[in-house]
């Protein structure tokens, strides 16, 4: 019988798993990686990096000193100019960019900031964003051009960009603090690091897509290479580059709250942190909404830059600014006297409290159900999670045998029907559920993930993945990594199901999308901290709360990409299906779904990355994986621990990313895209 690639991979994995299961009671080092086999990676990093940072410090301090000028200048300008003038200027800019719609958006958005009572703090935040973004744009542009001009470095550059996006910012705040000194400059540099990759990727993509004719025309007209690049190719790629600008802006804004953890800058992020500390949900939510408003205004206005547009009359813009200037002399210059959202915030806060009080029992039983029958078995396995307290009876060793027996029988039935791979995967899944993710023997994980890599991307990927996982083992972070893997795995699974269904619904119904879309916008841009409070109030500290918090954030890309994939089937394919008499359901299943598969896989990929990003924040509600290590390291200013845990997190994200991309690539090839 000839086996498919997938069946082979599954077969090897299940054999290793069975071997581990059989040997585990006899061989100590199979279950837990012995402490004696780990390397003192933390100390090496601390020492090595400590020395390197010491050398770089004077340069960095000089750089920080330079950056302080635009930073202070812009802060002064934004916080000193009277608020009517600022609102008018934004409105005028909106008019210039996109007519009355954008003007209205600017006016209403900034009007909201005024009545929120956080005007001054918001202006400081804005100053931070507007200094860090040009930095990120320049960096991104330079990296993108470099990768385009020197094809040899392209794959290296891609890895660097991945690292910049996947290592959690918390992990490198401590070294940045040491390098650049205290103050907003650290936040500025951190957000520039995080915001540069989208710019670099879009620059590269844009330049690669410049049409051949245009390039040839530039060569024929005898320009030097530099002239060709800056006068012809970059302008031709402008639209794609503008998408990069837009994405960079959004990324920088999402970093605002992270930068506030250091302090030194009384901005809106700090305000969110203060109210968080007091568990004032309403107020934290209000401060968070200010960031959402900025994100929406900036997103929509900068998005107009990426499309071909007509310029609107500059004289009207001038007139709006003029009115603002005149108003500045008339109205009360004290922005805080317009705060009128305090009452709303307080009543939202009370409402959360009342809801908790009234539904305490229901919330508890919901949580217990999810823990007993879902999360706990997944983490520690049925053999330990099934107790008289939870399931009403005690798990006996013979139950495991029966369970495996049933799984093998079912697997055999599938195999006989010709679905060998599915049969074996079923056995593996049952095995994982019986053992629990946190208790999986490490050789099994290494081989299993390696086999997945082999299926998705061949030997090269399998080797890379196994080596990377091996470094986590050697660094002694394996247990924490498995905990992180379990929590993010459970969240990603839930997100894939819920997000997929919501995406499907949004694709079928315009009304559904009109409801879901603004919720997606808010979930994606509001500082994630904010949602921790109601989750905590309802479900207390612990894994279930962390699970929910991660899901809230990570479900968004799944919804967006699923919908996008389903609605963007080429019209001719739809027509062909309609003319051959397909029903709506058949059309969805046979035409749209297969066509949408690569897009949905991309959404899954983003969901995985988002879930990892949120793990660090979930540490604030008491999870115990890598996120906690990173948070601990930040508190203790322990550079080695922070960097190694951050690297382990990035490795997990990187592996998940490459695996999903490998499978997506397969699908795309199968579809002939």
């Amino acid at each position: 019988m000839s086996l498919t690639k997938g069946a082979w991979a599954a077969l090897i994995t299940v054999l290793v798993g069975a071997l581990c299961l059989f040997l585990e009671p006899h061989v100590d080092w199979l279950g837990k990686w012995p402490a004696g086999w780990t390397l003192p990676v933390n100390d090496w990093i601390s020492q090595g990096l400590g020395a390197a940072l010491g050398i770089l410090k004077p340069v960095a301090r000089f750089f920080a000193w330079l950056l302080a000028f635009p930073m202070d200048g812009l802060t002064w300008l934004l916080s000193q100019s009277p608020w009517p003038l600022t609102i008018a200027s934004v409105t005028a800019l909106g008019w210039r960019l996109g007519g009355w719609k954008m003007a209205l958006l600017g006016a209403v958005g900034f009007g909201f900031v005024l009545i929120s009572g956080y005007w001054l703090q918001s202006m400081r935040t804005l100053a931070l964003v507007f200094v860090s973004v040009p930095l990120a744009l320049l960096m991104g542009l330079a990296i993108g051009i470099l990768a385009y001009e020197v094809p040899r470095v392209k794959s290296g550059v891609n890895v660097v960009l991945d690292v910049m996006q996947t290592v959690p910012t918390f992990a490198y705040l401590t070294p940045l603090l040491f390098l650049f000194g205290f103050g907003p400059v650290v936040g500025l540099v951190a957000s520039a690091i995080y915001a540069a990759p989208p710019m670099a990727r879009n620059t590269l993509l844009g330049l690669e897509r410049v049409e051949h004719d245009i390039r040839e025309a530039a060569i024929m007209s005898g320009g030097t290479r530099r002239q060709q690049l800056f006068l012809v190719e970059i302008p031709a790629a402008a639209n794609q580059i503008m998408i990069g600008v837009n994405q960079s802006l959004m990324a920088a804004l999402s970093m605002v709250i992270i930068a506030a953890v250091i302090g030194g800058f009384d901005d809106i992020g700090w305000e969110v942190l203060l109210t968080m500390r007091k568990a004032w949900f309403g107020q934290a939510f209000l401060a968070g909404l200010v960031i959402v408003v900025f994100a929406i205004v900036i997103d929509r206005m900068s998005a107009t830059l990426a499309t071909q547009r007509k310029a609107f009359d500059l004289r009207i813009s001038g007139a709006i600014v003029g009115i603002g200037a005149i108003l500045s002399f008339i109205v009360n210059p004290d922005s805080t006297s317009y705060a009128m959202m305090g009452g709303v915030a307080a009543s939202v806060d009370t409402a959360v409290g009342t809801f908790t009080a009234n539904n305490g029992a229901a919330l508890d039983s919901f949580k217990n159900g999810a823990m007993f029958y879902g999360l706990l078995p997944l983490r520690i396995g049925l053999d330990q999670a099934v107790l008289p307290f939870t399931w009403g009876f005690m798990w006996q060793p013979q139950y495991s045998l029966w369970l495996f027996g049933v799984a093998i029988a079912l697997g055999a039935v599938l195999a006989i029907k010709g679905r060998v791979a599915q049969g074996i995967v079923l056995i593996i899944a049952v095995g994982i559920l019986e053992t629990g993710i946190a208790d999986l023997p490490w050789p099994f994980v290494l081989i299993g993930v390696g086999a997945l890599g082999w299926m998705g991307g061949g030997w090269k990927l399998a080797r890379l993945i196994t080596i990377l996982l091996g470094t986590i083992l050697l660094a002694g972070l394996w247990e924490r990594a498995l905990l992180s893997l379990y929590l993010s795995g459970a969240s990603v699974f839930a997100c894939a199901v819920v997000g997929g269904l919501l995406g499907l619904w949004a694709a079928l119904s315009k009304t559904a999308w009109a409801i879901i879309r603004p919720m997606c916008d808010v979930l994606q841009t509001i500082p994630l901290f904010v949602f921790l409070i109601p989750v905590l109030m309802f479900f207390q500290i612990g894994e279930f709360s962390a699970f929910l918090a991660i899901c809230m954030y990570a479900v968004v890309p799944m919804i967006r990409y699923t919908r996008h994939g389903l609605i963007s089937t080429p019209p001719d394919m739809v027509e062909a299906a309609v003319s051959s008499g397909a029903t709506r359901w058949q059309m969805l299943r046979e035409v749209r779904a297969p066509y949408a598969a690569p897009s949905i896989l991309l959404g899954l990929n983003q969901t995985i990355l988002y879930a990892f990003a949120m793990l660090v924040i979930a540490a604030l509600i008491g999870t115990t994986g890598l996120g906690q290590s990173i948070y601990l390291a930040l508190g203790q200013a322990d550079i080695g621990m922070g960097i190694s845990a951050g690297a382990a997190m990035a490795i997990l994200a990187f592996i998940a990313d490459r695996l999903v991309q490998g499978f997506a690539e397969d699908r795309r090839k199968a579809l002939g895209l």
Binding site: F182, L274, M276, A279, G360, L376, G542, G622, G635
Partner: protein, 319 residues
């Protein structure tokens, strides 16, 4: 060598300043930067000190700074003093900077703090016998949750503050599992939810804190936290373990930049001699966090009414 010499000199100069009364004003045109950390009590402490410095004729600037991350800034002289450091919650970096001599300690704040195992008042009905700690032996199962079953659940400090709650449970052999809270906000949310739902809660907490009165938090009575308890296993109710007692009293102290005493001698003296009592700080915290008043207004009110408590320190340093 050089560092320890510098440390010696600045410590000496502080001692001299502290003992000898009136000192030089120093660089009065440059602002003294005081750290504002993440909690209201510290804002009150800092602003009282700041007002005292202003009364002495200095310029003062308040700089927001994360508690854990501020020491690099103080070592660099970007912040000049931080006035409420809890010995129970201080990062390793502080010890490193003290060793380097770039940060120096400038005396106790005098805030009489207490940490302990605590519960919101309504929990006494769920577990009769509280506040006596022995009561917890029998009602652990009331406090059990999905993650801790069959043990009770104790909400401990965030992991980066250490694990004092877990140590107590181990020392006293109480059937509780300590769950780290992750953040102060999480601790407060637990207290709030427990009060709203009237559900059981055992938590590691401290005073002065505004939540003590807002959620009527009571401490469990544990055997007194004497030094012997932490070193001698035979001491206390459990003859086989250390930590079978209450928390040792926390020390709350102040620290400053190593150049503080040279640049602003009189200010260094004021900050060194400055103390604030719980009875003064707690009502001010309440006015801010419960009644929603602004910190500077509350502090200004207190300064006007309690001149006798702070004026002598300023006068001694400047006249």
């Amino acid at each position: 060598m050089k560092n320890s010499f510098k440390l010696g000199v600045s410590a000496l100069s502080i001692m001299v300043a502290g003992a000898a009364g009136a000192a030089e004003m120093g660089a009065v045109d440059e602002p003294i930067k005081l750290a504002l950390n993440e909690w209201t009590g510290q804002h009150v402490t800092t602003q009282v000190a700041g007002e005292m410095l202003k009364a002495a004729g200095y310029k003062v600037e308040y700089v927001t700074a994360g508690m854990m991350n501020q020491f690099q800034a103080i070592a660099d002289g970007d912040i000049h003093a931080t006035l409420e450091i809890w010995s129970s919650n201080v990062s390793d970096e502080y010890a490193r900077k003290i060793e380097e001599g770039t940060v120096v300690e400038i005396g106790d704040l005098g805030l009489n703090a207490r940490e302990g195992i605590a519960y919101p008042a309504h929990v006494a009905e769920i577990c009769p016998g509280l506040p006596a700690w022995e009561a917890l032996k029998n009602c652990a199962v009331q406090f059990a949750t999905a993650e801790t079953i069959p043990n009770g659940r104790l909400v401990d400090y965030p992991a980066d503050w250490g694990t004092p709650g877990a140590d107590r449970m181990l020392g006293l052999e109480l059937p509780f599992k300590a769950v780290p809270a992750g953040s102060e906000g999480a601790l407060i949310a637990e207290l709030r939810a427990s009060t709203e739902k009237k559900s059981p809660l055992l938590i590691t907490f401290w005073q002065p804190h505004w939540a003590m009165s807002a959620y009527d938090v009571q401490f469990v009575d544990l055997p007194a936290g004497e030094d012997a308890c932490f070193t001698d296993a035979s001491w206390g109710p459990n003859p086989n373990a250390v930590n079978d007692c209450d928390f040792s009293p926390s020390r709350i102290f102040k620290a400053g930049w190593s150049g503080l005493a040279d640049k602003w001698p009189a200010a260094a003296e004021i900050l060194t001699n400055y103390t604030l009592a719980v009875e003064d700080q707690q009502p001010m915290m309440g006015a801010v966090d419960v009644d929603g008043e602004a910190v500077d207004a509350v502090v200004a009110g207190w300064m006007a009414e309690n001149e006798a408590k702070w004026k002598p320190i300023v006068d001694a340093a400047t006249q």
